[in-house]
Symmetry: C2
Subunit: 301 residues, 2 copies
């Protein structure tokens, strides 16, 4: 394939279409997928990424983002960034540095401010109401109460692969909590000579498994994207006690995709050989089952 | 071997001896190596870890630490933690959580305070003078101006492996900068069924290479610790343009060690079969050369 792009969750549909359009127009993978992720970040309908992201237990919407250039293996990342529009854009800019590629908290905010990134209060009235409801319940944190990370893996006509990830992390998380999304190797990895992977799910478990590098490394050893994803899911299900929700999207350097998941997981894929499609992945009998669906076939964003 | 412990840099000598003493006394690997790391953190003579750690460009001593339990793959980590005595102890405590295992900045500090961890201003008069000299020079950040991370990998008599890492990170780093030390897969990894690894060097490059998981994974495929370390160093030297300083310590589940480095690198190893020794590793003709030395044979802490 000349170009291809895969992205997590139904909410990535418009962003995926935008990235596909750019890739078809010979735009570089990094530029294309950052545009795609930004569309998800900007959409208040999606409550786990960027604008209207889910707050921590103190009511702060703090965002994580990570970017990797598969040509150079350069990484940029932000953790616990509050008050800015687009963590993925900040992460990408940081990937250009020689040092100081991963910034967190107040330092990341100072960097974003000094570098002219657009500020934005990412708390929306609806998110705030949801926060207050949850706070009133004082409920125990449940394992899937909102951590739908958006990951894009793109391959361009120049043969380059890139990964871009953005999330508000776990709903009602502890202040300062950082998940797997800004962590290269865990939340994302891309090597243009092999392939790329991105993960959504319980970040704590994704970190324990170094999931994305694990997948890419299996492709380096000759596995197809689907084999690499399924093997990784089996391996971690066996190795980590009570492994929680985890979904993996994979793209190899040929532009072929693979997906593994232990929950109901919609994702989006497009390439020059295959127009954009929405798929639903489920885990059945130790392997991932993937079928094409219509948007109305799933309630999961 | 019944037990074994490897640690980075000459500065880990006393801590390694303490960990060895505890391991010989049937103490668990996690407890033993956290004690070892704490001794390095507490010693003001070592200017890149804990007390007297090197500050960021604004003069704040912010610390990173990571801990991994190789039995459960549970990870705890702190990034950019200011004002506390022992990042490794906070990291270890966080590893017991079900969620929120990685905390950064103000959130990490709030957690440490609420959980009764000892507060400490880690800036010493000598470090402050060094900071002022550097600031006056307004020099370009050089690649090895102080980022001597202490990593311990320990194996106990119960067959468990753990990894523990602590550092103040790059001298004159950007505020909020987090390196590879709190990042499982990059700065450390431990799997009791295979082995463990830890890295010291330019954190940004260690992140790009997902170095520690890469090494452990090679052992899973049958390589010895030394083969795994050397192969990883060769692979990354080839793949990452102008790879900067990087030194890797490895221990397999049998307690055998391996080390690779692309610079002059002292390290310490002890086991029930071999009393504590200080070694010097160098990189010659595409492989690591290791020889036993006396403390006075190297000026590198």
């Amino acid at each position: 394939m000349k170009w291809a792009v895969i992205s997590t969750w139904k909410m990535s549909t418009e962003g995926n279409a935008k990235a596909a359009e750019l890739l078809a127009d010979n735009v570089k993978a990094g530029d294309a997928i950052v545009e795609g992720v930004t569309l998800v970040e900007d959409n208040p309908a999606y409550s786990s990424v960027g604008y209207s992201g889910l707050p921590d237990k103190d009511g702060h919407v703090t965002l994580d983002g990570g970017y990797m250039d598969g040509d150079t293996l350069k990484v940029g990342a932000v953790g616990c960034l509050e008050g800015f529009r687009s963590p993925i854009r900040v992460a990408r800019k940081l990937s250009e540095n020689s040092f100081n590629n991963f910034l967190v908290g107040a330092g990341a905010e100072e960097y974003a401010r000094l570098n002219g990134f657009e500020e934005r209060d990412n708390m929306t009235p609806e998110t705030f109401r949801r926060y207050l409801r949850e706070k009133d319940k004082r409920a125990e944190l449940k394992s899937y109460d909102g951590h739908d990370t958006v990951c894009f893996i793109g391959k361009d006509v120049y043969g380059s692969l890139c990964a871009a990830v953005s999330t508000s992390g776990l709903f009602m998380k502890e202040p300062g909590r950082v998940g797997d999304s800004p962590i290269a190797g865990a939340g994302f990895y891309a090597d243009s000579q092999i392939g790329g992977a991105g993960v959504t799910g319980v970040g704590e478990d994704c970190i324990r498994g170094t999931v994305s590098f694990r997948v890419v490394n299996k492709m380096a050893q000759g596995r197809s994207p689907q084999q690499a994803a399924d093997e990784t899911m089996r391996e971690l299900s066996e190795r980590i006690e009570n492994l929680r929700h985890m979904s993996i999207v994979v793209l190899n350097k040929a532009g072929e995709f693979g997906v593994a998941t232990n929950c109901v997981f919609p994702f989006v894929y497009a390439s020059d050989e295959c127009e954009q499609k929405l798929y639903l992945a489920t885990w059945e009998n130790d392997a991932t089952v993937i079928k094409e669906i219509r948007p109305e076939d799933t309630e999961r964003d």
